[in-house]
Amino acid sequence: MLINYEFNEDKIQSPLQYTWSIFKRNNIAIAAMWVAIILVMIVIFAGYILPNTPTTQVKQLLLPPYWIDGGVSDHFLGTDDLGRDTLTRLIQGIQLTLGGALLLTLIVSILGTIIGATAALTKGLKASILHHFLDALLIIPTLLSALILIAIFGPSYENCLIAVSLSLLPQFIRAIYINIENELNKQYIIALRLDGAANIRLLRFGIFPNILESMVSLLNRIFSLAILEISTLGFLGFGTQFWDVELGALIASSIGLIFSSPWLVLFPGIAIFIIVLVFNVFTEGLRHAVIEGEDE
């Protein structure tokens, strides 16, 4: 962890700074991080950068993208069968899918951490009930439980987010629970406990800094699953109403036009692909940096 600058000055880096300095050496991960930041920016500022309103219809139906013969520069990615601008709808789709997945990951991680930490730090009946109850929930595939929940709540975008987060929550709690449980047997945690540290302090200084690696990969898994499930539900028609354009729903609505104008299906597909790829490369780089930093 000692780094040496040109003149003999030694500086002590904290573990996080050290991890960051390792991460900076990985060019592909840095590129992925910037793309991810741009995508998040698009999500946040989608309202300001939309070229048209998503529901405006023009006379020219099924226009191809700008660079193909017959394309118009007003509609960069063309229009769909009702004359709506594809680029506008794509940006809105990214906003709903990616924004939803990010929000959902945040909520699931906060709720899951609270419940998982409580379960790991309590003993006896409460912990046992939670443990076996979650085990039982884990046998249901997440997409199936999301579908069941949607069937109960009724299809809408908000209900879709709620259903997906509820279906992903058990996985997250379980993983956090196991990680904290393993960590609790380490000697430095026992030593901290003998110092008289309360649970909050134990978590903050003892446990969480040491389970960073599994937290990163866990968040990545939850996020990728969330993206795929939101778009799957959208594709199946459970996720959104017709005025919300979510990436899966965009593909589903133009699947019939795949021979006449394939780009209507192509662009949302590419968007999903890029989102999942970029975030995976980014978090994988981060995870490797954390592992390498711990090996030192």
């Binding site: 002590i12 573990p15 380490k186 026992i190 800094p209 030192e296």
Partner: protein, 259 residues
């Protein structure tokens, strides 16, 4: 000699686990009774599985006993608050590389017990840390370091500083010298003896190296199957062992160079 620690009829029974097909069976501990004087060193020896570690963990407060009393300076341990207990008994772990949190600086590791167990202000905390570091022979430069940047001996010194920082009456050391090689081991041994001379701290050792036990301790407890086989001063144990078990134990731990 003033009695510091008094353990009487200490027992630890393990319930047979109610779970189906459970293979967890552990031998019970006790009843165990002994006393320890102020400024004295007590060593606990015995074969593995004889309950040495369980005993010291009960005294340290990691495991709660099933029955029996532990009292320190005449006060029962269960009547003390967590803070008073921390200030009375501290534990040093076997391997400092795993008992120091790798993600936290030495300064923070040493500040934590003071923050949690005393009402010192920042200045007092700083002074106490400096004093303790001087006691274990470390420079204050190390406060900004992380544990993995230190050598094994320095890690041992930090672990010892963490135990000494509250000026405890008793320090429990669970085979702390096993991971060090011979020259470094004696550095720590001399450090421990110096501290005892300066501060009058009592030690409870779990030992495996008989020569070291003989060198350091005033009193030796021999344990077998969770019971005390022999409890006597060091010279008596090593010169005239009363039981066959003790004799075999001492024979099986010949000096290293003969092996």
């Amino acid at each position: 000699m003033q009695t510091l620690l008094n353990v009487s009829n200490l027992c630890k029974n393990y319930k047979r686990s109610a779970r189906f097909l459970s293979s967890g069976f552990r031998a019970p501990l006790g009843p165990i009774s002994f006393t320890l004087g102020a400024g004295q060193t007590l060593s606990i020896i015995g074969e593995s599985g004889s309950g040495k570690s369980t005993l010291v963990q009960i005294i340290a407060g990691l495991i709660s006993p099933s029955s029996g009393d532990i009292s320190i300076k005449g006060q029962p341990l269960c009547s003390l608050s967590q803070q008073e207990r921390c200030r009375a008994i501290r534990m040093v772990f076997q391997d400092p590389s795993s008992s120091l949190n790798p993600k936290v600086t030495i300064g923070r590791i040493l500040t934590a017990p003071l923050e949690l167990n005393t009402d010192f202000n920042k200045q007092q905390i700083k002074e106490q840390i400096q004093e303790t570091l001087a006691l274990v022979g470390l420079l204050t430069d190390y406060l900004d370091f992380y544990p993995n940047m230190l050598s094994t001996v320095q890690q041992h010194q930090v672990a010892l500083a963490r135990a000494m920082i509250l000026n405890p009456d008793i320090i429990i050391a669970d085979e702390i010298l096993a991971t060090l090689d011979i020259s470094l081991r004696f550095k720590i041994v001399n450090l421990l003896l110096n501290i005892q001379e300066n501060k009058g701290t009592s030690y409870i050792f779990v030992g495996h190296n008989m020569n070291l036990v003989r060198h350091m301790s005033d009193q030796v407890i021999v344990m077998n199957n969770g019971l005390i086989v022999e409890n006597n001063n060091t010279a008596e144990i090593f010169n005239t062992p009363q039981t066959d078990y003790t004799k075999h134990l001492l024979l099986s731990h010949q000096p290293d160079y003969r092996k």
